[in-house]
């Protein structure tokens, strides 16, 4: 799988993604500057975490107008694999590639900690290496992670929800919700299933030294899906 990691001004998780994709799961990786308009034949695109454009106006609002996003939107509409992590998720929401929006966390706290997530779907290109109902442990680090959508959208996207914040037993509860996201939603895909956004950081949990290997499942799932194409 040839993977493109996009760098916006203010991205800060791009090199973590590059490291995991190259050294941990052994893939070819190119970095794509936000001003570029070609995806260089990549099989998958990663929008990494960070604070693109300093979170000015709204998280992801300026980045979604970058030249590279035109190419990524076309790639996504053609069925290409796109994953947005944290700020990358926010950019996908602002671009309309995923439904809904992000609000400031309830409690006004920047949440930086490990959380547990219940895997709701294993038939996606991003979770095919997971078990149904599996509880994975990944870190979050965000100030604007309160996912929201209007009632009609929320009803329509139930089958698109991939991860929900849960306790260690897999129970989805208010106590396990770190940011006030509606229905504990931590990650979801588009209707076609080829675009996913998630607030937790799989690239920060793909090596034993970092306290969890669960993040590898996401990248290994993408490799598996790309190989089948």
């Amino acid at each position: 799988m040839k993977c493109g990691v996009v760098i916006f001004p203010g991205s800060n998780c791009d090199q973590d993604c590059v490291k995991v994709l190259t050294d941990v799961v052994g893939q070819r990786v190119v970095t794509l500057w936000h001003q570029e308009t070609s995806l260089q034949g990549c099989d998958a695109i990663v929008l990494p975490g960070g604070f693109s454009y300093g979170d000015y106006l709204r998280t992801g609002a300026i980045a979604h107008l970058s030249p590279i996003m035109g190419a990524i939107t076309r790639f996504a509409h053609e069925g290409g694999l796109v994953i947005g992590i944290c700020n990358g998720f926010q950019i996908l929401l602002e671009s309309g590639l995923l439904p809904g929006a992000m609000l400031r966390n309830t409690g006004l706290r920047f949440r930086c900690k490990f959380v547990t997530l219940r895997v709701e779907r294993t038939d996606t290109p991003f979770t095919n290496r997971c078990q149904p109902g599996q509880v994975v442990r990944l870190p979050i680090a965000h100030n604007e992670g309160r996912y929201t959508a209007d009632a009609k959208t929320l009803r329509s996207l139930q089958r698109q929800v991939v991860f929900r914040y849960c306790d260690v037993n897999g129970d989805v509860s208010e106590a396990a919700n770190p940011n006030g996201s509606v229905e504990n939603i931590a990650g979801l895909t588009n209707t076609a299933g080829n675009v996913m956004g998630m607030m937790p950081h799989p690239e920060r949990a793909a090596e034993a030294e970092l306290g969890s290997l669960d993040g590898r499942l996401i990248f290994e799932s993408m490799i598996h899906a790309a190989a089948l194409r």
Binding site: L57, T106, L108, D150, G180
Partner: protein, 81 residues
Amino acid sequence: MKAKVYITLKPGLLDAQGKTVKGALEALGFKGVADVRMGKYIEIELAHGRAHAAKQDVERMCKKLLANPIIETYRIDLKSS
């Protein structure tokens, strides 16, 4: 022309900042603060002087970028500068 754009979270959405500021005002002893909603205020200087065209431009700016219609509402005040 000068456009003043006021952007606020839609009614019904929890405004965590506003709620916290309300709590702080109450802690200072201000009684009777029923609600506080935080928002953004943007001033835009427009080169052309025709009010109707300017209003249309700013409306489009709000819809395309300045406000996110999923979570926010906006109000535009237009004045000749």
